[in-house]
Structure formats: structure tokens, C-alpha cells
Symmetry: C2
Amino acid sequence: MRYKLLPDGGRQIMAYLVPGDFCDLHVSILGEMDHGIGALSACEVAYISRRTFEDLTTNRPAITRALWWATLVDEGTLREWLVNMGRRPADQQMAHLFCELLVRLQSVGLATQTSYEFPLTQAELADTLGVSDVHVNRMLQQLRADGLITLQGKRLTIPDVERLHEFAGFDPNYLHLTKRRGNGNDRASRNGMAQS
Amino acid sequence: MRYKLLPDGGRQIMAYLVPGDFCDLHVSILGEMDHGIGALSACEVAYISRRTFEDLTTNRPAITRALWWATLVDEGTLREWLVNMGRRPADQQMAHLFCELLVRLQSVGLATQTSYEFPLTQAELADTLGVSDVHVNRMLQQLRADGLITLQGKRLTIPDVERLHEFAGFDPNYLHLTKRRGNGNDRASRNGMAQS
DNA sequence: CGTGCCGTTGAGCGTTGTCAACCAGTGTGG
DNA sequence: CCACACTGGTTGACAACGCTCAACGGCACG
């Protein structure tokens, strides 16, 4: 995840990273990090040396373009999150996040048609959605009571994906996933390599 | 501005563009726009043809890097806005926006040390901050009463910039402006051209 | 068998939203 | 020159959403 800490001790989570995502392309270009990065579950991290990066961005325009593409998708996601926080009540907001994670995890082969591992605590959800943890708890119960989700142990299941989309006002176009094959492993295209 | 419209008629504004900013680098890379762009005041727009763009991104790595840099700064701004909406009450949120605009407008020579033209309506502010227009009105009055801002006609003045920063919890580091000269015209560096 | 994390619940309060009305300024057409 | 409509800002009353504080229970871990 990406996050920022505030003077008053508050934390705002601004992004979730799934396998295949880049976590700090910023540093190479901007020279400085303006936020923190943390792991919410076991992670495997690949390093690209500064020299390699410099080499790629000066000599390999197609790859540079693919990396740029990845940051633009991140940007699109941030915009959608902004809409989420600004214009939707907490329950729809949470439902929207669940929809997004389903699609993104499917694209890397980490979700079935209707469910995925969900290791987040309610406090972390609260720091993501900009609401209190108590309120997250109540909204979760409501979503469960309405049959929109089930959350047992660490697994989130969405019985009727279409209905949750409807409820959350979710439209995955902002993720810029290329739609083809339905086999749940679309990683190459998500990373934009295929087009370049 | 960048914005999205929702099915219920709501609008969320996700970014303000000041002179020198790029408005749709996305299209060339992502191939599709996922949000709308609108003008809030008279604008002058420069077009770059697709062919020129293709040429730049394949043959001019330094310029490509500068463009990429610009999108990364936009991304940083989006993250800060997310923090703003998630973790700050409406009054501080508005103050934070005023602080950001002061710095950004100064960097393109459109603001004095303490004031700038502010053409937004309260309804537009509301759509930016994710609150109702009535509430914007009341928070504005409060900021005025506290002597943090004055807003006469279309001009916003910040009598004590340091105090407003304090109140809003504003730290301009996320804008990645290079600090040098204090003359309020720092456009070249803001666009990242100087470094490349 | 303690300790700590996480989830859950209740009560009361504060911020913010909704609805509705009103006012000032501006432009328009008769 | 004067209705008229329209936009943008302002105000009041009330409801609703979400927060804070506080306590408690289950569970894993040492």
C-alpha cells in the first residue's frame, strides 16, 4: 500500500499494490518520495537498479512508454478513488473498493470469479476510505446483511458481482484493462507490455 | 479542471489545471479518456499532434522524461487531495486547497505573495471538496471570520500565509517544485524541463 | 494464564446534508 | 426604462450520517 501519516497520528492509505505493480517509479524521476510504502501481507519485491533504469529510459522508448502507461493507470485509479471519497456514502464506497480489488486481483490470477483473499483489518479499511473503524464495522455488517458480500476469515466473496457493481456504481473502465480472454490471467496486458 | 459526472447528476472535480499544465497526455498513451475536462475561465490551449508526440516519445528520451515527470507530479497532487478529503474536516480541506493554489499560481506568475484571482463559484468548490455548497458557504464565512482569508469579488487574499499553512496542515513538498529565486516565476522548473 | 490485536456493540454528540426561502447583481426583451 | 428570468451567495430549521468514547468478547500467542 501507499500511505501518508499526518501530524495528528492519522493515516491515509492512497493505493493498494497488487503483484506486478510498480511501487516507486517516482523516485527515479522525481528524485524524492512524497509518501510511504508498506506491506499488508507477505511480499516479493524486485529491484531495478538506477543504472538499468537510466538505460531503459534513454535507449528503450517502447519500454519507457509501457512504464509511463503504468503510472497513468495509477493516476486514473487515484481519480476514481477521489470520486469515491467525495461523492459516495461509506457503504457504496466500500463496495466500490471491493469491486475494484476483484477486477485487479483477477487480472493477476489471484481471484476467482467471485472471491479473493482479503487480509485487511477493519482499521486499515477505515484509513483507506476516510471513515472511522467503527463505521467500517457497521457498514460491513450492513453489506453482509444485504447479501452483497460474505467475509469469512480472510476471504471475501461476492455472490452476485453484477448486483455489487450496481450498488457501488462501479465501472472498471478507469483501470484500462484490455478485455479479452476471460481466464483471469491478464497480467501482460495489464502492464501494457503487450501493446508496446 | 478535470471532472467526472455520476449517474445521479453529481460531479466530482479531481484537478485544477494552471497555465503550463498538460491536460490529456493520457489519451496518447492510454488511448482513451476516463474523465472530462472543462474550462472554468478563459483558456488558451496548445495542441501537439499525435505524430509529433510519437516522434518525441521515440526519439527524445529527455523530453519524454520531462513529460513523464509532469504526470508524476499530477499523481502526487492527487494523492494529497485524497489525504485532504479523507482526513481533514471541510474547513481545513478548503484552506489546504487555497494554499496549494497559491503556490501553484505563484510558480506560473499568476499570484502575488499573498493573493490571486479566484474565479470559482461556491458550487464548484463544493464539487471539488466533496461537500455540499451550503456547507462551503458556511466554512468560507468561518475562514473569513477567523481572518485566515479575505475573498472580495473574485480575488482571494491570504493575509498570513504561514498561519493558513499551519491551519491546513499544508506542506508543499508533494508539488515537487524546485525552490530557488523567490520571484514567483518558476515555470520552467515546474515543468521539469530544466532538469532534463 | 496473561497480553494484545481485532472485531463488535451501545450511547451521545458533532459535522455535514437537505430542503426551502430570500437577496443582490446581471443580462434580456418588451 | 422596467418587468423578468437567471445565477450565485446567504440564511434557518431539521434530519442523517458518521465520529468519539467506552466497554466487551473471541482468538492467537507467548
